[in-house]
């Protein structure tokens, strides 16, 4: 779409939207948010870009094919489930790793990997759909 307002706004918006989607994603760890809603907002950013600059340009910005995103997402879902099996616990059991950095501590876990998978699947899926609708 050729619109100066849209082009300018999109350039400003896209970074904020992606940051916001990551914020939602990490917030989902303990509070409302998470991979699904974060993925939706992230996909929204690329959709906006696709409307403003066309799918060709969006593919360049995205760098990877959205279908590849889906498959990597699915793969991390499986991996997060398989990790506990190496310590003889059932598939999908949540395993946690607490790292203390003095003042702040970091919590790493298999649900985080699962959530990254969800995020990637949602972004990949929606962008694939938008691309194929736009390119029809």
């Amino acid at each position: 779409m050729k619109s100066l307002i849209l082009h300018t706004a999109t350039r400003l918006m896209i970074g904020i939207m992606i940051l916001f989607s990551l914020f939602l994603f990490f917030r989902g760890h303990d509070e409302p948010g998470g991979g699904f809603i974060g993925g939706l907002v992230g996909a929204g950013a690329f959709t906006l870009y696709a409307i403003a600059f066309g799918t060709e340009a969006t593919r360049k910005v995205l760098r990877v094919n959205p279908i590849t995103l889906i498959s990597i997402g699915l793969l991390s879902l499986v991996v997060s489930g398989l990790i506990p099996m190496f310590v003889a616990e059932p598939f999908l059991t949540g395993k946690w790793l607490f790292i203390e950095w003095g003042a702040v501590d970091t919590k790493l876990s298999t649900p985080l990997i699962f959530d990254i998978g969800v995020y990637l699947c949602v972004v990949g899926f929606i962008v694939t759909v938008i691309f194929s609708l736009e390119e029809e």
Partner: protein
Amino acid sequence: MNGMLVLPIAIPLITATLALLFRKSSYLQRLFGLLGMGALLVSVILIFRDVQADGIQVLQLGNWAAPFGITLVVDMLAMLMIGITAIMGVVIAIYSIYDIDREREQFGYYPLLHILVMGVNGSFLTGDIFNLYVWFEVMLIASFILLALGNSKNQLQGALKYVFINLFSSLVFLFGVAMLYGMTGTLNMADLAVRLPEVENTGLVTTVAMIFMVSFGIKAAVFPLFFWLPASYHTPPVAISAIFGGLLTKVGVYALIRVFTLLFTHDTGYTHTILLWVGGFTMVIGVLGAASHVEFRKILSFHIVSQIGYMIMGLAFNTAMGIMGAIFYVLHNILAKSNLFLISGIAQRLLGTFELKKMGGLYKHYPFLAVMFLISAFALAGFPPLSGFWAKLSLVKAGLSIELYVITGVAILVGLLTLFSMTKIWLSAFWGAVPEEVPDHFGKQPLFGAGGLHILMIPVMIIAGLIILVGLNAQPLLELCMTAAEQLLNPSVYIEAVLGPQ
């Protein structure tokens, strides 16, 4: 706890993602297809050893104890079903190498095939009724796309009917699950089996039982809910037809067997009598439909319906012998039916058509293919010493032992009619004169050697070998089916395995 139980679900999922990741390369997709199905078979064999040694195997996913988490349960019935699924998976993966064109490969045939297998395995493994619904959806979504992939008018027509009727069936299923949850407050099947007898309103329980019968009946394609099946199964490529015709309807049968032995046993006089009538009509109507058609795959599709009737009949007998017969019938039928589909695909490649009127001369030019067809067709009709004979024999014996002479007579008669329509295919496609218009390669292209037909013949020979093997040495499999039937008729073993000692 047995951590391996998740493998029949996880392996196809991993294979599907890898196939999706390398979707540009046909070679890698095929390779992953073969390796994935092979790994699935290995994992199933490992699980089988445990089931054989220690009885029912249970896995509480995510370490959430039943009835709160989702439980995977492998009793002998589920074991046999995932076993046959793995075998079919390997066979179809080989057949697909030559049968599926590059365009379908590019549009995600392999990922979908593995997702389909994952859905089928999930349905067999799960011990949670809502989770069963989810697996049905996984399976259906994959099958919708597999049916429509290729975009021909004919295919879309078939897929549309399939999608609508199956979505309706899912909706009915969901209603049933909601009502069950409302009555008992649980979704775990073992827990449901404990709580359902305590429900005072038995009329409502029977209603829910009928809702489930309708929903699974649509999926299993029983009378009078089978019309979608012959309308759609003859449209996609043969490899897809074969896995649909072999496996998908049997998931419905499996679900029927599961709920009508574990959950709804309070009023067998009512529910199982209806099942008996349904089984009888399904057999007769299916075989009559087959007799009236002249398209290779349509005949086979109607036969699926007819054969489902036998399985429902065995379930309706509600005796160890009857259920054993039904389970054996499911296994035998998956082999025989898929093989006939696979053979129809080879015949179509040679003659360029599925119309029996335009086929002929296969026996003269390809006697080996004819022998393969004869083995599968005779097995389907129940000739000794092939697998179908034992399946029919145990059902007939079960029927006679509880003095249901009429339905047993019908079952035998339907066997004869099955033979009639198999003979129809044989007479025209195999014994008939070579038609005037045949593709140039007919009669010249060898089955083994140049041209790649041998890739299609390998699966056919594997299945034919299994049919003969089961036929000549039926005892081990019959014993396994008997174990499965005894476990089903004694739900306390299942309940105890899932929920712990009561």
